[in-house]
Symmetry: C3
Subunit: 307 residues, 3 copies
């Protein structure tokens, strides 16, 4: 059992939670873009503990807190900490929690780690990725991006593509989307990398339409959004990776074959699955998507701090 | 010769210094727990230079400075600095000192390094561990923890256990305790890892009672505090480590054998010498001890800055 | 084409730009030394992205921003970021740029990288070293140091020594010096490590006197400044390094042979090319030089932010 202000799973968020977060993100964006220096989080401390690498999530939380006038303290890389001496992540978190941070943001390769951290810590814990399981703040910025691109989330048709079994952004995104009406999700992946049963089961329960495809071609012209993800090399065996890596590459040339090109999203980092020649298209909104992460995380922090 | 505000050795601290620091730590704790946002260190910079790994010491200094409203700048891990190009730590510190930090906190594997840093730098230098030699701020938080648990330091009976020869927390703690009346210390260690002569000599001079034991069993029921430390693998040869590592493990089962269980302290990180099943005992105060580090370090910073 | 406030090359700076920066650096120094807590950069964010190791440049920018009351966010070492997952530095910068930093400071081993970063990013980009090419902020603090030591830059005679081909500080320093009247530069290096043609060509165009020498001895007594640089091991093949490393060592004994000892500068870190026994000489101004970096970078930030 975790605490009220923990953000452990995308399943915690109702439709109205999401709408409220979007409204706050939009308001904070306006204030920042007007050059206002916010002090909402003055004297507050956000602690980031990334037991796995991160650029966007870590930095966007740091920027978000700085733009709210607060402080960030980072655990630091493994070799500078007592993890090098064999300390468990649980002991590390319990210790830092005793230093009274206002929020703890945690990423760990183990599914369920964030939930356990939330039990251990008095401070609110935000899941910034727990293995293949979930990445709820990514999903929030994803639907915020859909809303900003299309003006709505109800009725949207989204194709998500890549490694859907081990990609934690996919489960969280599906959960958030399932709050909205008339959403259709095309899951495009090799058979071996289809979404996990637990994810599909929730979509079934919530009566969200979805289809499982092996190639993007068939769905492309029906899509409002094509959400590309990478085949996470570190989660596959080397053979599987070599066999599949050629199959899911989105290029300018490929997209040009279709009459209607959907908005292209990607959680980034991209490696080879989305080529840089796509960047010139007006539909390439993945850097906008990253930017939206700043404002969505500011909104989350604002709510968690109650300021 | 170092400067007045340097904190190089626990021997610098008199009884009244310790009492004053405890009083300031308690006052700062009350203010922080009341939600007050302090600005005592506003515009001030604390620089942390850890040439060896650290979690608690580094992070608690960072939290302490943040909670006083000040800034922290960290040297960063070895591979991102000019140490990677072969620069001496002395040149690194002299350079940073020229940037005018208000305090420099330094850890290095070499005994005596902090004293040398204090000579080199104009800024006050705080020793956060110099090899096997000393770790005075740890000792200050340790006696603060004893005071908070027992309401006094005079008359306390403390068992310190583990690698007492290379464990730097032990010498500093002994020095601070030797300021108080009727203290008894049981040093519990393999013969080869007894406290260094220089430490025992100072206790002799100050007429602090101590006894050297090989097993914790005999002293256990006399103790107010059992201070467990790990056998620091990196300071032992592999054979010695393998031979001894089984002998000094504190478990729930082990403690249950005794009629009276003392307060259990540990500087952390623990590896195997203190099992997690002990955490449920009311006597397990090592996470409280870590927390006390925050307030003691705030108190130290406050005094050093003269604010 | 980069943007007005980018600092990509030392060639951007006119004589009056340099004089203006020195005046601002001096004013900020006075205010800091008077204990004034500046808030000029309050609420502003400087982002540091060092794709190569750095101590002085990174830390002096951090201190500079802190002393101006602003925030610093650092990319972090490679293994904690998505670079570990194969992300290009361009994607990393584009992402961070979308988080709306006020300044981006970038170092990369590739010549021309800073210019490319400046094109990609909306935020002003400061070149903190792009391979062997340039290091303009180092050159600014170097001429500031010359001005503080000699009271003038016009008419100065400077010997620069070491690896002049791959040493990026040399080209930038030469460009800045070439703005001033009656400057003479002695380039002292092995033939294979003479300054690149592009550098000498600009000095020719600007009619700055220079001479190419193989040994420092001949010029020593004519010099106002001897600027020592290391033979950057990582930029040479191992054989070349072994053959040359003995030839360019400045020691106390060596300097004592001359009737007049010039001011000794060094961008640091030094390894073996400048021995620590030189530090006692009044002419040893390399730690002053490092300190000047703080104030020059504060001045640069102030101008870039327009505060």
């Amino acid at each position: 059992m975790h605490k009220e202000m923990d953000v452990v799973s995308a399943l915690q968020f109702s439709r109205s939670d999401v709408e409220k977060l979007i409204a706050i993100a939009e308001e904070l964006r306006r204030r920042v873009e007007n050059g206002e220096k916010l002090e909402l989080a003055k004297g507050r401390i956000l602690f980031t503990a990334f037991f796995e690498p991160s650029t966007r999530t870590r930095l966007s939380f740091q920027f978000a807190m700085a733009k709210l006038g607060g402080n960030v303290i980072d655990l630091g890389p493994e070799e500078v900490t007592s993890r090098a001496k064999g300390e468990s992540p649980e002991d590390t978190l319990r210790t830092v929690d005793s230093y009274d941070p206002d929020i703890i943001v945690v990423r760990h390769r183990e599914p369920g780690f964030a939930a356990r951290a939330a039990e251990i810590c008095k401070a609110p814990v935000v899941n910034a990725g727990d293995g293949y399981n979930e990445h709820p703040t990514q999903a929030l910025l994803d639907v915020y991006t859909i809303w900003r691109s299309l003006g709505r989330i109800d009725g949207v048709t989204v194709g998500v593509m890549g490694d859907l079994k081990y990609g934690r952004t996919i489960s969280s995104l599906s959960y958030i989307l399932s709050n909205f009406r008339d959403v259709t999700i095309y899951f495009i992946s090799p058979q071996a990398l289809r979404p996990r049963e637990e994810v599909l089961k929730i979509l079934d329960q919530r009566r969200t339409r979805y289809e499982l495809l092996e190639k993007p071609d068939d769905a492309m012209e029906k899509l409002d959004i094509l959400y590309v993800t990478r085949l996470q090399k570190e989660r596959m065996n080397p053979e599987e990776y070599e066999r599949l890596k050629g199959s899911y590459i989105i290029t300018y040339e490929y997209l040009s074959r279709f009459k209607k090109i959907p908005m292209i999203m990607h959680p980034l980092p991209r490696v080879w699955e989305l080529t840089t020649d796509v960047d010139v298209l007006p539909q390439a909104i993945y850097f906008e998507q990253a930017k939206n992460g700043l404002y969505m995380r500011m909104a989350l922090i604002k709510i968690i701090l109650g300021v």
